[in-house]
């Protein structure tokens, strides 16, 4: 009966906001720590962080470094999922924005900063398109964003002319692989953007509005919240985040690959949000936990590489992780486990 009693006790004790949040954090954080410790056991050099040429090096840094683009996409996705939506087009937006960046660098003499702004604007336009379909045409999100998912890669290929467009330039090379005070620029960019997003969501009432629209859009509208506007905004944010990720990915390889840039990233992003404990049915989103989710995925990937298994096993491990997380989250599964435990005890 312990499980049941635990649950009852949870309900009885009045829980202040912060404590409740901590409980949410417990699972994902422990999972991350376990994976990192596991990696350490497999590969003794895992925890070493060296400084070479004033840059941080090491497996742990690597995890953060590689996760930077995914985490951007994932937090955008978390907000969209918070409104009871989903954005399948993030991979295509990455390809489009990477293509815009590469072609502008190659064909114009605009300042890199302006090019960055144009690329981000392209992402916002993509988000607006998705948002309009979802909010104003009432098309289900999975379907609405499928359109851009399919057409987006074509648009990206059209922009690049079907080739991989390569470029050079100190500004974008810095974004892709530069360091500031030993920390990779891309990590700094991601951290700043996510911190900004967090502040906008949690220090204003926007986060509440997003969650309320995700929980019940009709009721939110009747409570005086512009439900459609909030939905559009969520997709715009997702578009913006993906655009930034697209620029980072393009800058990393110093080129735009319309076919492969950001391929399957939407799946990693959704996975991260789910691992972060958000229900796909909307109503709640957790930016911090989403970041942890991305780190878990990245640490797992790194761990598989270190263990000497072929990297392709990552896919199976990811599948297993999704399944476990889903089953733990599913209310039906929880009830079943509780009932089974009850039967055992009695």
């Amino acid at each position: 009966m312990t499980g049941l009693e635990d649950r009852k006790n949870q309900r009885k004790t009045t829980m202040p906001f912060s404590v409740k949040l901590n409980r949410q954090w417990l699972g994902p954080v422990i999972a991350l720590l376990l994976i990192i410790i596991g990696n350490g056991i497999i590969s003794p050099g895992f925890f070493t962080i060296r400084i070479v040429d004033g840059h941080l090096y090491g497996s742990l840094v690597d995890i953060v470094h590689r996760g930077a683009s995914t985490v951007l996409v994932a937090v955008g996705m978390a907000i969209v999922i918070g409104t009871r939506g989903i954005d399948l087009s993030v991979g295509s937006i990455i390809a489009i924005c990477g293509a815009v960046t590469a072609v502008l660098i190659r064909d114009t003499s605009l300042s890199p900063f302006v090019i960055l702004l144009i690329a981000l604007a392209a992402g916002i336009v993509c988000g607006l398109w998705n948002g309009m379909l979802v909010a104003y045409l009432d098309i289900q999100p999975i379907i609405a964003t499928l359109i851009l998912m399919v057409a987006g890669r074509g648009i990206a290929q059209m922009i690049t002319g079907g080739q991989i467009v390569t470029f050079h330039g100190p500004f974008f090379e810095a974004i892709g692989s530069g360091y500031l005070l030993g920390i990779p620029w891309r990590v700094i960019i991601a951290a700043v953007l996510i911190a900004g997003l967090w502040a906008v969501m949690r220090k204003t009432a926007l986060g509440l509005f997003v969650e309320s629209v995700g929980g019940n859009a009709r009721a939110s509208r009747l409570a005086g919240i512009d439900a459609r506007g909030i939905k559009v905004l969520a997709y715009v944010i997702s578009g913006l985040c993906s655009a930034m990720a697209g620029v980072i990915i393009a800058a990393d390889i110093r080129g735009a690959d319309a076919n492969n840039a950001g391929l399957w990233l939407e799946l990693d992003a959704i996975l991260a949000v789910v691992i972060g404990g958000a229900a796909l049915m909307g109503g709640r989103f957790y930016l911090g936990l989403t970041v942890i989710g991305v780190l878990i995925i990245q640490a797992l990937t790194t761990g598989i590489l270190l263990s000497g298994l072929p990297s392709q096993y990552t896919l199976i491990v990811k599948a297993a992780v999704v399944m476990v997380v889903l089953l733990v989250q599913a209310p039906k599964a929880r009830d079943m486990i509780l009932r089974a435990m009850q039967r055992k005890k009695s």
């Binding site: 309900r11 009885k12 009045t14 829980m15 202040p16 906001f17 409740k20 220090k203 204003t204 009432a205 926007l206 509440l208 509005f209 969650e211 309320s212 995700g214 929980g215 019940n216 009709r218 009721a219 939110s220 509208r221 009747l222 409570a223 005086g224 919240i225 512009d226 109503g283 709640r284």
Partner: protein, 504 residues
Amino acid sequence: MAAMTQSTSAILSVRGVGKVFPGVKALQNVDFDLVPGEIHALLGENGAGKSTLIKVITGVHPRDAGRVIFNGTDIHPQHPGEAQNMGISTVYQEVNLVPTLSVAENLMLERQNLKWGFINWKPTIAAARDALATLGLDIDVERPLGSYSVAIQQLVAIARAVALDARVLILDEPTASLDAEEIKSLFQIMRDLRGRGMGIIFVTHFLDQVYAVTDRITVLRNGQRVGTFVTADLARIDLIGHMLGRELAEVSSHRHHDERGFTGKGNQIQIKNLGRKRMLHPVSLELSGGEIVGLAGLLGSGRTELAELIFGAQKADSGLVFINGEPVMLRSPQHAIRSGFALCPEDRKQDGIVAELSVRENIILALQGRRGWLRPIPGAEQQKIADDMIRALGIATPDREKPVGQLSGGNQQKVILARWLVAKPLFLILDEPTRGIDVGAHADIIKLIKELCDEGLALLVASSELEEIVAFADRVVVMRDREKVSELVGAEITQSRIIEAIAR
């Protein structure tokens, strides 16, 4: 008076059935008998236990106590499909058929004519046509069900029940969305079915219909059976007495119309020719602060529509609203809220609560919406507002962080009320504020309505319960067929006057 004499020949008997939901005893020791060839009305206020009883009979909810005996044997259906196979069919107010399938398929699902294991469409469709013909319905059965009106969909649902050789047919508020002609033909069909020996349970809000078509009446109140009566022997006034019981009588002091009428003080709200094609004929109405205007009328008379037009939830295509002589924009709820309007909607689950959010977040939602996203209410203030409201309205919740979806219906209603009180409106519209609420909360909410009025709020309260309106309204606007038909003031406000106005 009680007519239990035929119980031995009953096709369906309910004995001592009980059902408890968290916090509410929905049914207690209820007995009920249905004999073949009768139309039996199941009546009661909202929340009396009618729909729970039906759900227990049809297996939607498992019962906690008692027996259900059908055709002489105890039954325990696990879901409505099983009850249907036994011969108990139910037609719900929201038609439970598949709108994307054709009419024929809806009628013949799982019963299609098979030839070597494959569906033989010709006889299947012919059988569907025949099933409808028995109800005198001649429509193209190959078109999708969803392309027909709700009335026809309902008849199709009944035809399905009949075609399934149902011995017992349960009609759960089938007339809510039908017009007078459609109701007439529905009654004819019900009488035909009765003639063929079917037992029909008829749930409705409309007493006229009860007297028009039923043979016996069982009244439920507060989860208990008040009694079973022969319709012809029961005077309407007695029936109402049975339905309302004492609880409500206690709160219905008539002080409002004695002490005050339309005072003309406080904020003046003027509604001029507000209407929308095919939804509401233009309505004009005036209210002032400290006044309660009741909005009476049957379901579908245009009450909810008027409330939604005033609030901007639906766009009006004619008319204007003025506050103290100033015209107000009515483009969206947002605009209405900014002008100091508030609406507690009829459908709490769909239009009211955000189930996943906490009590606190639900309470501050409208206030925060009014302030905009850039000016968040500080956390400490949010907690104080929520705690104050939980105390003031007596919301039964362990703490303010509990998700609203886990509270009982009455408490959810109070949370929504709290949401609007916090937003400090000058004009509050309550659409069926006591629907589906247990008696305790019911009295609380009526008391609250009166207090709000005393504080100078202008209130427009739509309700299908005349007794309730008579109890608190200073003036009553009567709606019928999407039109304002009468306005009663002071001593004119009696149930019979309202009924007269509706019936006229």
